[in-house]
Symmetry: C2
Subunit: 241 residues, 2 copies
């Protein structure tokens, strides 16, 4: 009869509290959160319950445990996180270091599509920029990246050019925006003239088109990008479980 009472176990409530603290930037990326004992005392539950809450946050890549040291907020500045979202590998299976080359940048107002995808009002400001990813000197990826203007108001290509590190570590450090998960949609398309030129391939040659929406905490979309990948001797690697 009555609707289900939406029972929520204690450890999920603790998890929600931790998530709120993460969102409020109580602890910065790369820093340790309080010990399990401390958190247990703070929330008035047993260590095991805190532990289970943390377990889930670790499974979602928001936290990492380091035995003997503590539990830390995941940071894109961590070298192990650099290529978490970049699935392009050489055909022999080797991961190759990529370097980002910013191209251009401009501001605009969100149209229908950007407004829907980024969940911002129609006409609100957005920042758009393009960059090329080079693998072993070769330009293999051309990305066009759309950001909500309110979160990235101070964005400038010059600051990005000086940045040593991944794009997401730049976002994390300069704008406090932490990328947590992403969805990608892949298609095969024919290269148009401009894209072909920038990637050094023939016009009409097949490219992998990758559209990505990236989310921060609580499934809030904060980045939309469209990329063209030249996959002649590289491929997009994926694991299915």
């Amino acid at each position: 009869m009555a609707p289900s009472p939406a029972f929520s176990p204690l450890y999920r409530q603790i998890k929600a509290l931790l998530l709120k603290s993460l969102e409020a930037r109580e602890w910065r990326p790369g820093e340790a959160i309080p010990s399990e004992q401390e958190l247990a005392a703070r929330f008035g539950v047993s260590q095991g319950t805190v532990r289970k809450a943390i377990d889930e946050l670790v499974a979602e890549n928001l936290l990492v445990r380091k035995q003997g040291k503590g539990t830390f907020v995941v940071s894109h500045s961590d070298p192990r996180q650099f290529y978490r979202f970049l699935r392009l590998r050489r055909d022999d299976g080797e991961w190759v270091q990529a370097t980002s080359v910013p191209i251009d940048c401009w501001r605009a107002k969100a149209g229908q599509e950007a407004s829907r995808i980024l969940q911002i009002p129609l006409g609100s400001p957005i920042v758009i920029f393009r960059r090329v990813l080079r693998f072993a000197q070769k330009p293999l990826v051309l990305d066009e990246i759309y950001l909500p203007g309110d979160l990235f108001a101070a964005f400038s290509l010059d600051a990005l050019k000086e940045w040593r590190g991944s794009l997401y570590s730049f976002f994390e450090n300069r704008f406090g925006v932490r990328m947590v998960r992403a969805e990608e949609r892949l298609k095969a398309v024919a290269a148009d003239r401009v894209t072909a030129e920038m990637l050094g391939v023939a016009e009409r040659s097949p490219l992998l088109f990758v559209e990505r929406v990236t989310y921060t905490y609580n499934d809030r979309p904060v980045e939309w990008r469209k990329g063209f990948y030249a996959t002649e001797s590289y491929h997009y690697y994926n694991e299915l479980t």
Copy 2:
């Protein structure tokens, strides 16, 4: 000095025992395994330890828990598992029912590549067959599938044609081979004449090329396939975490 003693916690040893039982087909797909209490008694450990072992097997998609009922061996016959490995969706985001149409089948001896990928001796028998996947009547995927001959000796296209259900549920039921995880490598390629014809697209038009290696327990490769996906109004969907 001495090499690390390779400490393995109790629950991992229990996990290994459960894995062995799964591999030995002590419990069939879709069936319940013994209760946590029973397993704890059998192995002489506490319920919590068995629980943690099962936790990991659940995380790896080998088992599923059903509260109040028991813990079950995952089966590809389960409707929720049907499309676990098929990432093609319509551009509006809807999942579309696919129907498999077998084309042809032949036997061969493993060459260099098949031998390496399937980890079988050079020259050992393999079974090869092709099939088309239709979405809303339209042929969108052409797969060429390579199987080790010893595991799939009795494979026949006629049996497959009569099968109602997914290919992997067919493999599971007829050959006792359970697909557990897969790796895919994606590229954009131009359609050759034959493929273009079968998918009803223009020659040289861009196709998504998907190479998959599928594994059963203990990372044993048991399937290799090469597929061409027509992605004009469909896309390959992927989540990055």
